[in-house]
Amino acid sequence: MLKPCHTRRLASIAPLLALALPAVAAPDPSDWQSVLAQAEGQTVYWNAWGGEARTNAYIEWVAQQVDERYGIELVHVKLGDTSEAVSRVLAEKQAGNDDAGSVDMIWINGENFAAMKDNDLLFGPWAESLPNYPLTDPDNTPAVRYDWTIPVEGLESPWSSSQVVFYYDTALVEEPPDNMPELLDWAAQNPGEFTYPQVPNFLGNAFITQALLELSDNTEVFYAPMQEDEFDEATAPLWAYLDELHPHLWRSGRAFPSNSADLRSLMGDSEISIALSFSTTEASGAIANYELPDTVRSYVHDSGMIGNISFMAIPYNAEHKAGAMVVANYLMSPEAQAEKQDPEVWGSNTVLSMEQLSAEERALFDDIDLGIATLPPSELGKVLGQPHPSWVDALAEAWQTRYVN
């Protein structure tokens, strides 16, 4: 069943061979057959956030698949926060455990990736040598090579793409705002009915970053490492905006929900009428889970919304690197990606480029029903890239200095 595509992929990775830097006894992804052979029988500990039953169920499904196909036992280590896995690897490195680490693969992106890369906690490069990697059309999709502007350099393989969307209750809001200034006006007229998660939660960060990008005339500066002297001037419009917005927020901005889940509960309890999410299918999923009324719909701002891709990374000391690679490669396969995109299963967007797929494989995606509250890809608008992590860090620090006391 896998054979036909297999040969094609082998051919296409040939030019990438030069990139592969095999460590001493580490598996060499350019010799895929030997990776498969090594992987068989391995137990791969996949550290992934476990806060969503549908995600967990999907991972369970993947575990069955890789067991049947490759003889790999995949164990989902459920995390409350990705940084728990980073802590673990860090502790192991500190203790000198350089080859029998307990974390084989991490679901990661952005700041956590930057931190692990900076501190040499990652194995690789390996990702660009995976047989399925070309399906993401990396040459025409910069997002798979730059994670929050940080060059990926083959240290992680793309898995899922996501974009910030707002959602609102059509029973309570007639016309949702189209941009940040309109959101402010709306909040002023409907005090207490909007809020965003407390910075430095990633969705909270995303909201203030979105506001920053929308309110700034020149956004280019945010895509390079931050220089101290540019911060105050570049962010002044943001603080002016937030100072004005906060008194109109839920609890007058004296408290913030701690994460996107809290935010969703507030929406479910009718405490607020507009919220936001990092998943385009969140509203549909939550309606199916009885968490939101079925009058909720998604919308985006005219100028586009921040989006990013999340990845699979392998720690430098992972014990089962070959198994992890095989799983990461399978996660990029059209069938695994199509399964993931189905809102009935999870509803997380694919990272594959439709042009790279066969007609048959494309059909897998075309048949998916996105759910009532999900915007079709054509209406999601432009994807705004994540600024450099140094900007996001500085924004988060400044936000806390300003609003925590």
Binding site: Y45, W49, G50, G51, A53, N56, E60, V77, K78, L79, G80, D81, S83, E84, A85, V86, S87, R88, L90, A91, E92, K93, Q94, A95, N97, S102, V103, G110, E111, A114, D118, N119, P191, G192, P200, R251, S252, R254, A255, F256, S258, A261, D262, R264, S265, L266, G268, D269, S270, E271, N289, Y290, E291, L292, P389, D393, Q400, Y403, V404, N405
Partner: protein, 560 residues
């Protein structure tokens, strides 16, 4: 011979990992963390820490909530015991309280948050009828800046614990006789209890009280759910820094952990000073001869407070039950529009392994702790050893905040090449299980009439035969209760399980916390109820087994 070593084995099992963990967190606090390039000692982390926005508020919150919670919980327990006359009502209230021990902190917090939130059950029940509210009021109740809802949640959990500790210690004081005597001098029963029993009871429950203070100043899970957010309590901030993607925050996090230890110690010191003051000041009150002043207030207040606490906790659980079968539930409906078993069906298939892990870890930790603690106590009573000062060492794991040493402990375990595995998780649980077991068992053990063992010896029974055939059966009930408390403690552990198990030993609690991060209240409710199930079974068995075993032994049923 081995028995003589028992106390030292117990102390080293508890103190060595603690010391290793503390060391590994103190070093980074002063800049030493080679893996991140920190190879010199300096105070940068402390400077960064002091400059954190809201730090002083965080410290004050942790400090104050620890002391206030303890004071309120102790007052509720003392007033109830003073008012309690052993009527069926009093016994009923008492019986309702003990299962509350079984409910994990996080579950109580979730339940309470849902009761008192502006969109919570209480408001729903009176809206829109009484209030006219079609939308929840915009009021900051949960996560309030003063931490009042956090303290309320903590009180709900600490009252049952302190009550159990008091009930365990009381019989040796012969409270009835003291009260009867005072009443014969014209004191009302409530005042008689407060003046003649409480002053001698307090020294016996002092250590549990200190454990409560330490817990309340450093609690993480409840504070995340109920506590203030701008800024959060110190312990929550520290966890955030440890989890910060920017690894350089580790230095500050470590300094914060050391600071947390300081805050906890400061709270303990304050309490101790308070004790000294009360001792002086209360002398006058104790002997002022007032026999009835406040008696009525105590009689009503004591029962009312405990009943309220109990009912709140039970309603919180009731809320969880409703949520676990709720379809969509629009405000201000008093009940969900539809009911569904979807949530249970989604969770149940995946909880077999976590449940088995929870049980194995809990039983293993409890059994090993029981063996060590019983050996230590047996050694003490056999050799007529007084309660020694080294007993304090046993309580260190309860007094040193978890965040302060667990991260260091992981590094320490890795350094000696011990990989994450179930045995390591069990060892880590032992750190918290053993002190609680000791706490709950030692009074009963020491107060067992020594003549029972003398009678056995004089009939020719060897020390071991007397131990197995006389002491253990006589102590069956307290031993089982202590084991049930320990099992509940083990089941509630999150950080030790996750960190020492490397995430490879999923328990019902790690599942619940991971699920909590996704915020689906219905699924959280299912997991919280499942999490409460095992300890609940434990407590039920601890009650049932002695009843069945001693069905035909009248005197044994009276032994608590």
């Amino acid at each position: 011979m081995l028995l003589r070593l028992a106390p030292w084995i117990l102390i080293s099992v508890l103190v060595v990992p603690l010391a290793a963990g503390l060391l590994m967190v103190i070093l980074p606090a002063f800049g030493y963390l080679p893996v991140l390039g920190g190879e010199t000692f300096h105070f940068d982390a402390w400077q960064a820490l002091w400059q954190r926005p809201g730090l002083y508020r965080s410290i004050l919150l942790s400090y104050a909530s620890g002391l206030i919670t303890t004071l309120v919980a102790l007052a509720i327990v003392a007033l109830f015991l003073a008012a309690s006359r052993g009527t069926w009502l009093d016994r009923g209230i008492r019986r309702l309280v003990s299962p509350l021990l079984a409910i994990p902190h996080a579950a109580v917090a979730f339940g309470l948050a849902f009761l008192i939130a502006p969109s919570g059950l209480f408001v729903r029940w009176v809206s829109p009828g009484l209030t006219g509210w079609e939308r929840p009021p915009d009021a900051l109740i949960v996560n309030d800046p003063l931490g009042l809802s956090l303290m309320a949640g903590l009180v709900l959990k600490e009252v049952p614990f302190l009550l159990l500790m008091c009930l365990a210690a009381l019989p040796q004081l012969d409270p009835e006789r003291r009260v009867t005597l005072a009443r014969s001098l014209g004191y009302s029963a409530n005042i008689a209890w407060l003046k003649s029993v409480f002053p001698v009871l307090y020294p016996l429950i002092r250590l549990p009280v200190y454990a409560v203070i330490a817990y309340a100043t450093s609690v993480v899970d409840m504070a995340m759910i109920l506590g203030p957010t701008l800024p959060p309590t110190l312990s929550v901030s520290i966890l955030g820094w440890f989890n910060d993607p920017d690894l350089d925050h580790r230095y500050m996090a470590s300094a914060g952990a050391v600071l947390q230890l300081g805050v906890t110690l400061a709270a303990l010191l304050t309490w101790w000073l308070g004790e000294q003051c009360v001792k002086r000041v209360s002398q006058g009150w104790l002997i002022n001869g007032a026999r009835n002043t406040g008696s009525m207030a105590i009689a009503v207040g004591g029962r009312l407070l405990l009943t309220t606490t109990t009912l709140l906790a039970i309603s919180a659980i009731g809320g969880l039950v409703i949520f676990s079968v709720a379809g969509f539930w629009r405000f201000p409906d008093a009940l969900p529009g539809t009911f569904t078993l979807d949530h249970w069906q989604r969770i149940l298939p995946s909880v077999t392994t976590p449940l088995l892990n929870t049980l194995s870890v809990g039983l293993a930790a409890t059994l090993s702790a029981a063996v060590m603690v019983v050996a230590t106590l047996e050694n003490a009573v056999r050799h007529h050893l007084p309660v020694s000062r080294s007993q304090w060492l046993l309580y260190l794991p309860l007094i040193v905040p978890q965040v302060a040493f667990l991260f260091g402990l992981v590094v320490a375990a890795e350094s000696i090449n011990v990989r994450p595995q179930m045995a390591l998780v069990i060892a880590a649980h032992l750190l918290f299980v053993a002190p609680y077991l000791y706490l709950s068992l030692s009074e009963a053990y020491r107060r067992l009439d020594p003549r029972w063992m003398q009678a056995a010896h004089s009939l020719g029974a060897s020390p071991w035969r007397a131990f197995w055939q006389v002491r253990l059966p006589l102590l069956l009930a307290p031993l089982l209760t202590a084991c049930a408390v320990s099992l509940a403690v083990s089941i509630g552990q999150y950080l030790p399980t996750l960190l020492l198990g490397g995430g490879r030993v999923p328990t019902i609690t790690t599942e619940a916390v991971a699920m909590a991060s996704g915020g689906n209240r219905r699924l959280i409710a299912v997991l919280a109820l499942l999490q409460a199930l095992l300890p609940f079974i434990g407590f039920s068995l601890a009650l049932l087994i002695p009843r069945l075993a001693w069905a035909k032994r009248r005197q044994m049923r009276g032994v608590a």
